[in-house]
C-alpha cells in the first residue's frame, strides 16, 4: 500500500535527509529534562512541589504538582518514574483545570424540585450521611443489602480495595456494577480465555516491528504515556516499522510507516488471513514452533507438536488472503506481505484496541490476535506482547467476618445474551433496571461514573434515571455537576484527584513493577470529602467500623504492610518521593515457563485433572470431598480457577498461563473448551457483523474515536483542553459527501435505527469512503461552563476566563455533538463488550 515516508513530501524541506540514525537522536534521552523544580514566571519564586499521580485517564502517570499560595498552578511528569520517564500528555498537563474549575460541586446537595429539575438545597454532611446511612442500614437490617447498588467508572487501586472489598464487602452487597464493558472489557475476556489474566503490555523498547489493529496509542490508550513515547523512540532511534490498520487516519495511523484503511469490523478477517499465511508458509518455524509447547490447539490437552501444527493448518486453511480481501477491502498481497514481515521480524509486537475489539466479532478478533502473536513466538517475550506487570500492594482487609454478599443479577445483562461476560455488561444495567425481572435497587449510587453520558442510548438512560418508580433514590458522588449528577437525589462532593490520597499500581512498560502514590497538593476545596473517607464515616454510622478512619490512613497502613515499600521507609518515603521500584529488579518475561516444584503439586488437597492436565486444590475449590471434586472435575467446578496450582506439560508441571477469571487450563488456549460448551466456536473463527451484512447503498458505517486532548467523558470542563478540542464535526470522505450534496461545514443529520443527531460535516480524505467518524468527548449539556455553557448550581465567578469562552460565541465553532444518542447498547455475543463501532447510519444535509 502506501509507504508513508516516501510520498507526498511537498513542502517538506528536508525530505532528503530521511531518517537520521540513532547516534544523534538518541542523545535526546540523555538531555536533562530537569523536572522536580518549578518557579513562578511572575515573581520568580520557587513553587512548592508535591509528588503525586495524574488521574485524568486510567494510565495514572506519576506527576509533580506545583502550588503557589495553596493554589495548584502547574503539573509536570515525575522524572523518577520508570513508567513515564517524566513526560506527560496534554490531558495530564490540563489537570490544573480540574482542581481550579469554577463549576465544581462544593458541598452536599439534596434535590428539592422534581428529579432533574435542577433545584437543590445545600445540606450538611451530617444531614446527608445520616439520611444515606439510615437508608442503607434499613436495607441491610431487612436482609436485603443487595438493594443497594453501587456502580463505578474510574475506581482503581486503593480506592477500589477500600470501597469495594472492604466497605461493600462488610456491608454485604454484591450488586456492584462497573463500566468496563463500555471500555475494553471484551478484550480482557478474550485474554482470560487465552492466557488467563488480562492486559497486554506492548514491549516497544525491545521490539523490531509493530503491527497495530485499531489502537490509537499516540492519542489515547489505557497505558498511554508509558507506551506512546516509547513507540516514538523505537521508531525514531531504531527504525522500528509501525503498520496501522484503522478505518480513519488517526494520529497514530498518520505517524505510521503504513496506514491500511480496513473496512470497519473486518480486522478479524485480516488477522485470520495472516494466521493462514504464517501456517501455510511455515513461518511459525522457530520461536513460534517452540512456543507451541505451551499452546492448546485441540480439544485434547496432550496433543503432540505435529498434531498441533496440522490442526492449525487445517483451521486456518479457509482464511486465505484472497478471502480476507473480499471481507476487508485490503488487497490480498498487502495482507500477505505484512504477515510475512511480522512473522519474520522477530521480536514483533502485535497491538490491538477498540478499533478491532468493540465489534460484534471483537472477542474473536482479540483471540485471533493472540493466535497470531503466539504462532510467531511473540508472547510474553522481550519485544512482544507481554503479560502485564504492576505493583502488588498489601492493604488492610477490614473486619474479618464479612457477610456472604447478596446481589441482584442485573450487572451481566439478561441470562445468555453474552456467553462469558467476565467484565459484566454495564451498558445493560439501565435496561435491566427498567425491565425489573431481576429486581431493582432501592438505592443506586454512582462513583466517577455517568450512566447517562457514557453508555449508548442516552435518551433511554435519561428516561430511566429520571423515573423514581424505577430508581427510588439515586446518589451521585462527583467533583462536578455532570449530566448524571443533574438527575440525582443526593450529590456528595468529591475532591479532584489533586486533592486526595491513593496508592497506585498501573501496568509497567518495562515489566518491572512501580509502586507510587497520589497525595493531595492542596486541601480539598469547599466541603468536598474523599469518598474513601466518606465510606469510613458511613460504616461508623451503620455500626460496622472498618478499622481505619480515612483513605490517608488506609494508604499509610498499606505502605507499612507492603514489604518492598516498608523496607525503604514506608509512608514517609512515598510521601517524599512519590514513586519507588526495587533497584536492580529484572524485567519479568516468560513467566509461564516457571516450573512448579513437586512439593506444591504433591500436596494436601491437590489433585490432577485428567481432562485438562491441571493440578488443582479441591479443598480451596470448596468441595466437600476429593471424590466429589474428581467427579465434578476442574472445568465444571464453580470458580475452580482460584484453586489452580499448575499445568502438567509432558513430564513437568509449570505455572503456565494461570487462569484468572475462567476455568481454563494453564495452556495458552487457542482452543477453548469453555466456548465450545457454550455453543461458540472453540478456535478463533470469522463472524460477520449482522448489521453490516444487511447494509444498503445509502448506508454508512459509523465509528467513534478519541482524541489526544480529551478524556472520554471527564475533561470537557478543562478549559485549556476544550479550547483546543471542543467541536467534533463528522469526518466524511468527499466521495460520500458529493453523492449527498454535502459540502465541508454543512449541517447534516445522522440517523441510526435508534435516533438521529445533527452535526456538521468535515470533508476529509483521511477516512475510508463508506465510513463516518464522530468522536466522543463533546456535546455536553452539563459539566459546567467550559463544557456546555451551563453554570453548575455551586459555580463561582472567580475565573475571568468564563467570559472568554470564544468557541461558544455566536457564529463560532460550538460545543459539538455526543454520538451516544444514536448508538445502541448492544453486546458482543461472547464477552458482552459494548459494540461501539457497529452502528449503521444514513446522513443527509439539513
Amino acid at each position: 500500500m502506501i509507504n508513508r515516508r516516501a510520498f507526498l513530501k511537498l513542502g517538506a524541506i528536508s525530505a532528503a535527509t530521511g531518517l537520521v540514525t540513532g547516534s544523534i537522536l538518541s542523545q535526546a534521552r540523555e538531555l536533562p529534562h530537569q523536572g522536580g523544580r518549578g518557579f513562578s514566571p511572575t515573581t520568580g519564586q520557587r513553587r512548592r512541589s508535591v509528588p503525586s499521580t495524574c488521574y485524568q485517564c486510567v494510565t495514572r502517570c506519576p506527576n509533580i504538582i506545583y502550588t503557589e499560595n495553596d493554589r495548584v498552578v502547574k503539573v509536570e511528569g515525575q522524572p523518577n518514574s520508570i513508567r513515564t520517564e517524566g513526560v506527560m500528555c496534554a490531558k495530564g498537563q490540563g489537570a490544573v483545570n480540574q482542581v481550579n474549575d469554577p463549576d465544581r460541586v462544593l458541598y452536599p446537595m439534596r434535590r428539592v424540585g422534581k428529579r432533574g429539575e435542577g433545584k437543590w438545597k445545600r445540606v450538611s454532611w451530617d444531614e446527608a450521611l445520616d439520611e444515606l446511612a439510615g437508608r442503607l442500614k434499613t436495607l441491610r437490617d431487612a436482609g436485603t443489602p443487595e438493594k443497594f447498588m453501587f456502580q463505578y467508572g474510574r475506581m482503581k487501586a486503593s480506592t477500589s480495595k477500600l470501597v469495594k472489598s472492604v466497605f461493600l464487602g462488610t456491608y454485604g452487597t454484591g450488586t456492584i456494577g462497573n463500566h468496563t464493558s463500555i471500555c475494553e472489557g471484551g478484550k480482557w475476556t478474550a485474554h482470560e480465555l487465552t492466557w488467563g489474566g488480562h492486559y497486554d503490555n506492548w514491549d516497544f523498547d525491545n521490539t523490531r516491528y509493530v503491527l497495530n489493529f485499531g489502537s490509537n496509542v499516540f492519542e489515547a490508550h489505557t497505558n498511554h504515556i508509558p507506551t506512546s513515547p516509547r513507540l516514538v523512540r523505537a521508531m525514531a532511534e531504531r527504525g522500528v516499522k509501525l503498520v496501522t490498520f484503522d478505518v480513519r487516519l488517526s494520529n497514530t495511523a498518520a505517524k505510521s510507516d503504513e496506514w491500511v484503511p480496513v473496512k470497519p469490523g473486518t480486522d478479524l478477517a485480516v488477522i485470520l488471513a495472516m494466521c493462514n499465511v504464517v501456517m501455510r508458509e511455515d513461518l511459525y518455524e522457530g520461536p513460534g514452533e517452540a512456543f507451541l509447547k505451551f499452546v492448546k490447539v485441540t480439544r485434547r490437552h496432550d496433543a503432540t507438536l505435529e498434531e498441533k501444527i496440522v490442526a492449525l493448518k487445517e483451521h486456518f486453511a479457509e482464511y486465505t488472503p484472497e478471502w480476507a480481501e473480499q471481507q476487508s477491502g485490503v488487497p490480498a498481497v498487502t495482507i500477505q506481505r505484512i504477515a510475512r514481515e511480522f512473522a519474520t521480524t522477530h521480536p514483533a509486537c502485535l497491538m490491538t484496541y477498540r478499533g478491532a475489539v468493540a465489534h460484534y466479532n471483537g472477542n474473536e478478533a482479540e483471540r485471533a490476535a493472540q493466535t497470531l502473536a503466539a504462532i510467531t513466538g511473540n508472547i510474553d517475550n522481550p519485544g512482544g506482547r507481554c503479560k502485564a506487570v504492576g505493583a502488588g500492594w498489601s492493604y488492610p482487609h477490614g473486619p474479618k467476618n464479612k457477610p456472604k454478599s447478596r446481589k441482584l443479577k442485573i450487572i451481566d445483562g439478561p441470562p445468555g445474551l453474552a456467553a462469558v461476560p467476565t467484565h459484566h455488561m454495564s451498558h445493560y444495567v439501565m435496561k435491566m433496571i427498567k425491565d425489573g425481572s431481576w429486581g431493582r435497587p432501592d438505592v443506586y449510587m454512582t462513583y466517577k461514573y455517568t450512566p447517562i453520558y457514557a453508555n449508548g442510548e442516552v435518551a433511554e438512560n435519561v428516561e430511566i434515571l429520571k423515573d423514581e418508580s424505577l430508581i427510588p433514590f439515586y446518589v451521585n458522588i462527583n467533583p462536578f455537576y455532570d449530566e448524571s449528577a443533574a438527575l440525582a437525589d443526593l450529590i456528595l462532593p468529591e475532591p479532584t484527584f489533586l486533592e486526595r490520597w491513593d496508592w497506585e499500581d498501573m501496568v509497567s512498560p518495562v515489566q518491572i513493577p512501580e509502586y507510587y502514590i497520589r497525595q493531595p497538593a492542596v486541601k480539598p476545596l469547599g466541603e468536598t470529602r474523599d469518598f474513601g473517607d466518606v465510606v469510613c464515616d458511613l460504616a461508623e454510622r451503620m455500626g460496622m467500623p472498618l478499622g481505619f478512619k480515612s483513605k490517608e490512613e488506609f494508604v499509610r497502613l498499606s505502605c507499612e504492610m507492603t514489604p518492598d515499600v516498608k523496607a525503604v521507609g514506608g509512608f514517609e518515603y512515598m510521601k517524599k518521593n512519590g514513586v519507588y521500584h526495587v533497584p536492580g529488579s529484572k524485567p519479568l518475561y516468560y513467566s509461564y515457563t516457571k516450573e512448579i516444584p513437586a512439593g506444591k503439586y504433591v500436596a494436601d488437597g491437590v489433585i490432577y485433572d485428567e481432562d485438562t492436565g491441571v493440578y488443582w486444590n479441591w479443598k480451596k475449590a470448596h468441595h466437600h470431598s476429593e471424590s466429589e471434586a474428581r467427579a465434578k472435575g476442574y472445568a465444571h467446578t464453580k470458580k475452580a480457577f482460584k484453586a489452580y496450582v499448575g499445568q502438567r506439560i509432558g513430564d513437568k508441571v509449570y505455572q503456565g498461563f494461570k487462569p484468572d477469571a475462567l476455568n481454563k487450563s494453564g495452556y495458552f488456549e487457542l482452543y477453548s473448551n469453555i466456548l465450545e460448551e457454550k455453543g461458540h466456536k472453540p478456535r478463533p473463527t470469522w463472524m460477520a457483523i449482522p448489521e453490516h451484512e444487511k447494509m444498503g447503498p445509502n448506508d454508512l458505517y459509523m465509528t467513534t474515536y478519541k482524541v489526544g486532548v480529551q478524556i472520554h467523558s471527564r475533561s470537557a470542563n478543562c478549559k485549556y483542553l476544550t479550547e483546543i478540542y471542543h467541536d467534533n464535526p463528522a469526518w466524511i470522505n468527499p466521495k460520500d459527501a458529493d453523492k449527498r450534496g454535502i459540502s465541508d461545514g454543512d449541517a447534516i443529520r445522522v440517523k441510526s435505527p435508534i435516533g438521529e443527531v445533527e452535526t456538521k460535516a468535515r470533508l476529509t480524505e483521511a477516512i475510508r469512503p463508506g465510513v463516518i467518524a464522530i468522536s466522543h468527548h463533546c456535546g455536553h449539556w452539563q459539566y459546567g461552563r467550559y463544557a456546555s455553557g451551563n453554570k453548575s448550581p455551586s459555580g463561582v465567578d472567580t475565573d475571568p476566563d468564563t467570559k472568554r469562552i470564544w468557541w461558544q460565541e455566536e457564529g463560532r465553532d460550538g460545543k459539538g455533538v455526543h454520538p451516544n444518542w444514536i448508538i445502541a447498547n448492544a453486546p458482543d455475543p461472547i464477552n458482552g463488550q459494548q459494540r461501539w463501532m457497529d452502528t449503521v447510519v444514513q446522513i443527509s444535509k439539513v
Partner: protein, 248 residues
Amino acid sequence: MASDSSKKTLSRRQFLKVGAAAATTAATLPATVASATTKQSIHYAMVIDTRRCIGCHACSVACKTEFEVPLGESRSWVEYVEKGIFPNVRRSFLPRLCNHCDEPDCVDVCPTGATYKIASNGIVDITKDICIGCGYCIQACPYGARFLNPETGTADKCNFCLHRVSEGLVPSCVNTCQGRARIFGDINDPDSEISRVLATNAVSVLRPEMGTKPNVFYIDADHTDERDAERYNTYVRIDTHRRQKRRV
C-alpha cells in the same frame, strides 16, 4: 513534601538596560546558525524534530498552564497539516512558538523599548512595566506569535521560559514533550545537544523570506499551506488549534 520557597525575583530593570543596548545593535549583527559569533555568551535556540512529534498538544497545554495564558490566546500551539487523496493521505504536525529571531521585526517597531532582545542569551522578551499595549509588535511579527494579554493589557508571547531557563531548567514545553521532539539549548556551545543536532541534520525555519532569522529550527517540517492546495489542486487542510483559524 514541600520544597522551601527561595525568594528570587527577576529584575526587570536589569533586563531592560541590557535589552535596550541589544536592541540597537541587533539589526547589525548577522547572527546566523553557521556563524553564531555574536557578543552573546549564550545563544538560546530550539530544534523541533517533527519526525518525533505526534501532535499531542502536551507542549501547548504545558505552556498555557505555566503562564495561565487567557483563553483565546496562545504562546505555543500545534498546527496540523492534512493533505493528499485517499488512501495516500498524510497528516503532519507543526508545533509553533515565538522564533526569538535574530532580526526581530517586533523589536524594531516597539516605541518604548519594552520588546527587546536579551543581549546575554538572545531571548526576545517584553518588559511588561513599560509596555503600553499599542500592539505595533503584534502587527509586525510575521508569525502571529504575539497577542495582547487581556489580563495585563500588555503584549505577550513565548519567552523561552526565561524564569525556568535562568534556574537551569528546560522550558516547560520541552519538559513535557512526549516525543522528545523539542530540543532546547545554547547554539554557541558546540558541545550542546542542540548544536550537535543542528550540525548533523538539515533544518528549516518558518518564512525565511521575511529575513527575521528565526532561532526555532525544524527537522522535516511540512511547510504546506492553503496556497499549495490551489497550486497543486489537491486536498490540504490546516488546523491551527487556536482561535486564529488561518495559519501565519
